[in-house]
Amino acid sequence: MNETSEALSRYHFPAADCSRIPYGMYRDAEVYELEQERIFRGKVWNYLALEAEIPNPGDFRTIAVGDTPVIVNRARDGNLHAFVNRCAHRGSIVQRQLHGNARGHICCYHQWSYNLEGELVSIPFRRGVKGVGGLDADFDPKCHSLRRLKVESLNGVIFGSFADDVEPLEEFLAPPFVAQLKRLFHAPVKVLGYQRQRIFGNWKLYSDNVRDPNHGGLLHMFQITFGIARLSSVGGATLDAEGKHNMSWTAQGKPVEESKDSGYGDTARGDMDIKLRDPSLLEYRKEFPDDRSLTIASIFPNCTFQQIGNTLAVRQFRTRSADEFEVVSTFYGYEHDDAAMTKHRLQCANLAGPAGLVSMEDGEAVELVHRAIVRDKQSHSVVEFGGKGAVKDQENLVTDVPIRGFWLHYCKLMGIQPGAEA
């Protein structure tokens, strides 16, 4: 399947450890096309939705995997299903609503109708009128279901895969990320709302961004200034064996000794003398057995589970082209939250998302890179913080090793051999 395509042969990864990434990989429309097949429809599990969003039989949401429109729903028997939201007749979007409850999905174009398992169950005028017109007798509706995804759910988090031969979900996630999902979804959740962001850059610049603990304490001045996380905080990055997933984390209240001439010395950042008049949104109400107050867990290829203090959300990346993607964030709390805790979470949401006091810079950073790499596609970014060579867990935040982990796995799925002679 992974025959080298012409698009990929244009770019050369000079380092076997992916410490150099050719810029063209972020700008090439043909590479983007291949990614849809080999990454998003490859042997991976994509985050689809939360079970809390579709609790009842017939509940559905329409989402996207990569750029493919997908319906996720719950059938009469309670089972979860996901299929491509494209009519088997002439290719129309079948379910036009963003969310809702339905007995099935009926395409508005010629009224073909599908059940909650995605099977084609009725075709108007199939036999024509008085035996004239309609479909031939040998037309078999069973061969015209909506294209199904494999679906698995872990603690109410629904994943889907286009690949029939993908490993079981928990194996794909690997122990640290199974543990993290069980930690975040230890109790039934309730959705608090959605935030959406369109970023005019390549989606991989964003997946790099969430695997780059090093930028957090340099770009995001709010978080540095108000002590949410500094590069000198106790923290690190946890990876799976392949390094394709990453969790950057910071522990509360244990700053490592930071001398005046330490890292921030060469920057205008790190020791601004400003105070918040209302610091209530900085307050972390401890709610997990460990002391991690900030965890950003990014699962290859399409999602990030964030805990910024008491702000909990899952971000789904939906690609739109090589030059644009959307981040759809679903914020949630727990069903057992009292009114005060819900209010606190809603306040703390000011920290995250497109208007996040901590996170707004990421949209700008991604677009700055995307604009500048329009030319010189053979030039490379430099990914060497935390050292070169093997990809492994990181013991502090001054690292971008997890970016290399992403790219090594990406290359494997795309059929690229980093370090090979051009």
Partner: protein
């Protein structure tokens, strides 16, 4: 009748000042349009329609709003741009001696340093105002954005 027109004019002036001060990046003066006891919120229509409480920006008191402006000035990095608000006709929805509610629609364009403009956000203002010695002040400004899919990022207020 006279009173109604006067009220309409005054609230319209409040909203005009609100938009002009954002467009001129005079956010410190913009803060003065808010009462000490006030709330500012930007929320996506998607959430409002689903009865979901999550906002894009939520300042439950004026200090939080001051913190937003301070953070923009001193901490945050965002796309360099100027804003241009285009406001619809104002509608007074209820009025009494000591309070007034109104709404209006807006289109907010953003332009970059090279003069390239884009429609950044459209939506509706839900305004609650109260009289003060300096004229009407905002007690509550709820911005419901149809443009829930924020382009790039949302730093400066809408």
């Amino acid at each position: 009748m006279q009173t109604t027109m006067q009220l309409h004019y005054e609230i319209e002036q409040l909203l005009a000042a609100y938009a002009a001060l954002i467009d001129a990046d005079r956010l410190e003066e913009w803060l003065d349009l808010f009462d000490e006891d006030s709330q500012y919120e930007i929320i996506a229509r998607e959430n409002v329609e689903q009865n979901l409480p999550l906002s894009l920006m939520l300042c439950d008191n004026k200090d939080m709003l001051r913190d937003r402006v301070m953070s923009l000035r001193k901490a945050n990095i965002y796309n360099i741009h100027v804003d241009c608000h285009v406001l619809s006709l104002l509608r007074i929805t209820s009025a009494a001696e000591d309070r007034c509610s109104a709404d209006a629609s807006f289109a907010l364009f953003q332009s970059n340093q090279e003069g390239e403009s884009r429609l950044f956000s459209v939506g509706r203002y839900e305004i609650e105002a109260k009289p003060s010695a300096q004229g009407w002040r905002l007690r509550k400004m709820r911005v419901v954005v149809d443009t829930g899919a924020v382009l790039t990022l949302l730093a400066t207020p809408i």
